[in-house]
Every structure is written in structure tokens, then in C-alpha cells.
Amino acid sequence: MIAEMREALQSVLGTDLSEPVLLAGGASKEAWAVDAGGRKLLVRRAAVGVIHKHTLSLEHEFAVLEAAYEAGVKAPRPVQYIADLDGREAFVMERLEGETIGRRIVRMEPVPPQLPEQMAEELAKIHAIPRERLPFLEEARLERMIEEFDEVGEPRPAIELGLWWLREHRPPPREPVVVHGDYRIGNLVVAPDGLRGVLDWEFVHVDDPVRDLAFALVRAWRFGVPEKRLGGIGDAEPYLERYNELTGLDVRPEELDYWELAGNVGWAIGCLTQMRRHLSGRDRSVELATLGRLGAEVEYEICTLLERVAA
């Protein structure tokens, strides 16, 4: 299979390639590292399952990556979309060098001090991508979370409390923009000199910009450094200030709190939908099964945040 794929890739790219190495083979996507002369490439290729029903197709993900790259976002340079690479959809992009594992990024010594501001800068650029440039993007509403939760059908009073509070305290809606949809430390490439690139463009959609901004604060993605609210690497204030400076949006800390809670509620529901993939027999996996129970961590954080806003 590797030989066939290499041959197919060589004929598309018209160049000699090293043997492709499988970096990650998830339920929905494969990632292959391959070198073309001195050029380091990464091939994203479809696998059998779909992680989430609102995931972009690889063709659309490639179009998004092109738009982001053109807009000057630090992202891997897109190389080529391939409708049929040895039987499956795929695309090729350049491979960025740096750390991508969240748990290792928060333990870098030191964590690049400019990282919070740099995260704000890249997000501001993403939010400025013209919607018309990507007409296929769907708009997400907060209500989508409730639909997903109801599809799982498990009773979770803590999630209900979070949803209730979010309904009762919704800030005035902002003009929806192109958002990354999964903007957190684990989806960045970081080197000692700072942020190298933003990865994982499969959840891009149109939404409230502050929801996207607050996603990186969710406690589940602080990788064991909970006291640093911005993804285990820093404080939220410099991140928020820089974002406001660049976008002129004047986002207030309370609005960030609101969407941080929403991010937690969304992930608590996400744990249940992942568990359902296992229980339904679609993707049997001890990891997905365990995630169903670990959702209690996120529910605990929801309750803690609710106590804080009520105080």
C-alpha cells in the first residue's frame, strides 16, 4: 500500500519522493510525512470514519488552507489537492518544523514569551478572511450543541445547567466571521522562537468571533498547567488585549468568560458523542469509551465556572 501511494504521489507531483511514513492514523484522517528533494511535505488523506458530522471535506479543507495562507496566516503552505490518491481523497501541504504536542508545548523551557500575543495575531488574521472567499462554509449556532446533546440522549444535569446559564446570559450577537473552530495549543506548531503555524483546519466555519477566541481557554486543553488560563502557557489578558487592538472589537473579559463556559459545555457534550461512537459500534475503542467517563472532569469545571459567575 505504501509503494502504491508513493507511486501515485510521484506521478501527481512529478518528482521523486522518499518513502512515505505514517505519522498518525486516526479514525477519520491519515497523516503521512514524505520528502521531495529538500522539501518536507505532509499528506493528509481520508480514512474510513468521520470524526464529526460538521467536519469539512478534504477538498474544502484545502481551499480553507489556501485562503488562510493567502491572508498571511502562519500555516503550512498548501501544495496540491488530490481527488483520488490510491483510492482516497487527499491533499499535500508543506510540513512545518516545531513542537505540536500540547503536553510538550506547555513544558517548553521557556515557553516563548510572545506566544499569547502571537496567538491573538494569527486569530485576528483568520477572522479577517472574507466570508465570500469560502462560500461553502456553514454558519454554526449555539443551538447546534443542544441538538448534539439530545442525540446522545444521556442525562447530564451539569451540562443542562451550563446550557441554561448560557441561554439566560447571552451577550449581544456579534457579526459572524470565518473562525478556526478548534483554536487551541494542541493545534499549533511552536518553536523556541515562537509560533510557527496553525494546523487542523477541518472545523472552520462561520461563527461568533469571541467564541473562537475563548476556545483556547478551556481547562481541558491546559495540559496539566491549570493555573495558566490560556492553554497552560500564559494569561488571558495579553491575548485579549492584542486581539482587541488588532480587530477593534473591544471584547470585554465577561464576554470571554461566557464563551469559555460555552467551550466547556461543548467539550462535555463532545465527550459524550465520542463515547457514542464506541457504544453504537461504529468505532469500537477503549479510548472513546473512557472519554465518556472523563467527561465528568469537564462537568466539574462547568460547575466551578458557574459558582464563580454566581458569586
Binding site: A158, W164, V286, L306
Partner: protein
């Protein structure tokens, strides 16, 4: 309480992992044998847990969830729900609670 995945469902997922992903990679005969013995022991645990699954399931949780959905959230609800989540965490992930201390 029978939170999903239930205890037998979790054990079942481990059995599938051991049988489907670990066992085929083992070439050492002694390790293969001991893994089969471990799987058999887990099967005993599985059956015993199924026997003990409470009949009256999560009716109280469902009722509380429905009340909150309807907007009926009396004072003290957050504290009550949090205590319940904490009890579940003491089973699922006790060390997580330490990160709040």
C-alpha cells in the same frame, strides 16, 4: 447509578482491545498464555458486573436534567449537581480533583 459507559461496557472495551489489538502482536508464548488468562479473569469480572447492574437506572438524573431544561433551577442546584459530579469523578478520575486544591 449506571452511568454510560457502564462498568461492564468499559470492561468489554478492554477485552476487545486486548483480544483485537494486543494478542495478535504477542509472539512470546508465555505472554500470550498469560494475556489469555487475564482476559478470562476480566470476563469473569464482566459477567459479575452485569449481574449487579442496578435495575432502577438513572431516573433521578433524567428528572433533574428535564427540570433544568425547563428553566426550573432553584438556589442550591449548582452545589447539588457539583457534589454528584464530584462523586462520579472519585471513581472515574480521582486525581483530577487535586488540580482544584
Amino acid at each position: 447509578m449506571s452511568e454510560r459507559p457502564t462498568a461492564p461496557e468499559l470492561v468489554e472495551s478492554i477485552l476487545e482491545f486486548l483480544g483485537g489489538e494486543i494478542l495478535p502482536t504477542l509472539t512470546d508464548q508465555r505472554l500470550r498464555f498469560r494475556t489469555l488468562v487475564a482476559m478470562n479473569a476480566l470476563s469473569i469480572v464482566y459477567r459479575e458486573l452485569v449481574e449487579r447492574l442496578p435495575a432502577e437506572d438513572d431516573a433521578a438524573q433524567r428528572e433533574l436534567a428535564a427540570r433544568i431544561r425547563a428553566g426550573d433551577v432553584p438556589p442550591g442546584t449548582v452545589a447539588r449537581v457539583k457534589a454528584d459530579v464530584e462523586a462520579r469523578l472519585r471513581v472515574a478520575s480521582p486525581r483530577y480533583l487535586e488540580s482544584y486544591e
